[in-house]
């Protein structure tokens, strides 16, 4: 048994192709992006080593910090909205008829491409012919906002379709976790005289805390990576008011051809993502994950 299942040639044959692929496409580029960040490399001229010049520039680049701030802000919004998704999931997981249908309907936007969502919401936000402002005017709002061209609100306008897209995804995760709480535990609590509210908050919530922790990481790190939707909807504008880290990096690299500086931003993005993941794990680590 053991001899057959530890056949080295077979293991190599099964593992190496995929391992090689993620090395070439993911890990080597990650290292290289840090290295290219140390290059003076613009357009199609050959690159030249300049040490930490780009990283030094990055630290003093107010545009970079502004885009980082926007990314973090979206991350915080996304994390806060998790509580709403959790509340909805708790309602669905209680004795609601048609819960299965509801959660599937909520999921539909998650299946669409960010490009399609961005185009659709650009039309919804259209000042003259869009759905939203016509609705507002029907309710008597005189000068409805210019959702995507007002620098003061554009980030919030972008956040709405993000919620619209991801709500169903998180609801499905929470719903599955809540349904996984064993009947016996709930029953025991009920026998001890716990009300439905107490069962929900004191029994079910602590039990799904590990799942909640994972979703915080997903929401925060996911927000740091937001790109498609913003790139298509506003391109980071107007006047960088909706610029995020990934769109800033993409613009520097593939519109201005500042590959060296773009690499430095890309590396900073990686570091911030990993740091954030580590930080959340640290902050939410508990000595004992609750188990009954």
């Amino acid at each position: 048994m053991k001899a057959v299942m530890s056949n080295r040639a077979a293991i190599a044959m099964y593992v190496l192709p995929a391992l090689l692929l993620i090395m070439i496409i993911i890990y080597v580029p990650l290292v290289l992006t840090g290295y290219y960040g140390m290059m003076d490399w613009k357009g199609f001229a050959p690159m030249k080593f300049i040490g930490f010049g780009n990283y030094n520039k990055l630290i003093h680049d107010s545009m970079f910090w502004k885009s980082t701030y926007h990314s973090v802000l979206l991350g915080i919004f996304s994390t806060l909205s998790l509580f709403i998704y959790l509340a909805v999931s708790m309602v669905l997981a209680s004795r609601i008829k048609g819960a299965n249908l509801f959660r599937k309907i909520y999921l539909i936007p998650m299946l669409l491409s960010s490009v399609a969502i961005a185009q659709l919401w650009s039309k919804i936000y259209d000042p003259a012919n869009g759905m939203l402002n016509n609705l507002l005017m029907a309710f008597g709002v005189e000068n409805p906002p210019l959702w995507l061209s007002d620098p003061n609100i554009v980030l919030y306008s972008i956040f709405v379709p993000i919620v619209w897209q991801y709500a169903g995804f998180y609801i499905i995760i929470y719903y599955a976790a809540l349904k996984n709480v064993s009947e016996e535990v709930v029953e025991a609590a009920t026998i001890d005289g716990a009300t439905a509210w107490q069962v929900a908050t004191r029994v079910k919530l602590p039990l799904i805390a590990p799942v909640f922790k994972v979703t915080i990481i997903l929401a925060l790190v996911g927000s740091l990576k937001y790109f498609d939707l913003i790139f298509v909807m506003t391109g980071g504008g107007p006047n960088h008011a909706s610029e995020v880290m990934a769109s800033y990096m993409y613009g520097e690299a593939f519109s201005k051809y500042n590959f060296g500086y773009g690499s430095a931003i890309g590396f900073a993005l990686l570091v911030i993502c990993l740091l954030m993941t580590w930080l959340i794990r640290k902050l939410t680590a508990s000595n004992e994950d609750v188990q009954y």
Binding site: V4, L21, I24, I26, V88, L111, S114, K123, F169, G266
Partner: protein, 296 residues
């Protein structure tokens, strides 16, 4: 429900008045109302998109956006299908998606089998490398990848896109497969070994066929991701010949800024395959999304 709990509940019921039950019913009514409103918010924008894809420009610009199309312009669909290269983009999307899904599932099944069923020292470390891939922002790889593909002459070549899709989808695919593989009883391959099967025979003839259900789940999840992917195609592909629907649709919409009917029809064409897949396979999609995200 145990007897004791049931008695408690009936005690509580008889103890409360009819009034309380009414309050409970109204409470439930309000909950349903909220759930219903949320459902409308999630669906109505898509319905609205479908409606304006059937409108003329006079209707879009002259009438309420909530009006139904007076004379549905079904012609918008064949028009954009043949005019804006949409048929070509659609075909590209289909075959890139299929190629990447097949490649991803084959490679991921190999890896998951080796990690969960075979004995070797570095298996934990290798698994870790795949799983960490989930946290990596793909934008951090974009410039070096672009440079690499340029040097090996794969820029503006579908292979660059398919390989990137596969590499970045391997982590989530392996994660979904993992739980299923771990649940397969050891006795199955023990029987295989006793019968004198080689490892390859055990994998291809015994284990792989058992995983058909989870392969279906990963296939549909991969299909959705690949179909919707934007950045890689937008960066690595420059000629219309090789563009996919997401990028093609985006360029098309950029060109036809004022023709809402055409824009609506293009967007509808790009999302219909996903909606059809969802109608047919919603349970698998739900299961795959939940499994792929949390098990880590």
């Amino acid at each position: 429900m145990s007897e004791l709990a049931a008695r408690k509940r009936s005690d509580a019921d008889s103890g409360t008045h009819v009034k309380a039950r009414w309050v409970g019913r109204i409470g439930f009514g309000i909950l349903y109302l909220i759930l219903g409103i949320l459902a409308v918010i999630q669906i109505y924008p898509l319905l609205w998109l479908f409606l304006f894809s059937l409108k003329t420009n006079q209707e879009v610009f002259g009438m309420s956006p909530f009006a139904l199309p007076q004379n549905p312009q079904w012609g918008n669909y064949p028009k954009v299908w043949s005019q804006g290269h949409i048929n070509l983009y659609f075909l590209n999307s289909v075959w890139y998606t299929v190629a990447a899904v097949v490649l991803t599932i084959v490679l991921a099944s190999f890896v998951t089998f080796a990690i969960t069923r075979m004995h070797w020292k570095l298996s934990k470390l290798v698994l870790g490398l795949f799983i960490i891939g989930l946290m990596i922002p793909l934008h951090s790889t974009l410039i070096p990848l672009f440079n690499f593909f340029k040097h090996v002459n794969l820029i503006d070549n579908p292979l660059s896109v398919i390989l990137s899709y596969t590499a970045f989808n391997l982590p989530v695919t392996i994660m979904i497969l993992l739980g299923f593989y771990q649940a397969i009883p050891r006795e199955i391959e023990e029987a295989g070994v006793i019968d004198g099967c080689s490892v390859h025979r055990i994998f291809f003839r015994i284990v792989l066929p058992l995983t058909t259900p989870v392969i279906a789940t990963t296939a549909i999840i991969n299909m959705i991701y690949n179909w919707n992917e934007f950045v890689f195609v937008n960066t690595f592909i420059s000629s219309d010949r090789w563009k996919t629907l997401t990028v093609g649709v985006n360029n098309f919409v950029g060109q036809y800024l004022t023709d809402w009917g055409a824009i609506g029809a293009t967007l509808m064409i790009s999302i219909i395959p996903i909606l059809v897949a969802f109608l047919l396979l919603s349970n698998r999609i739900v299961e795959g999304l939940a499994a792929g995200s949390v098990k880590g």
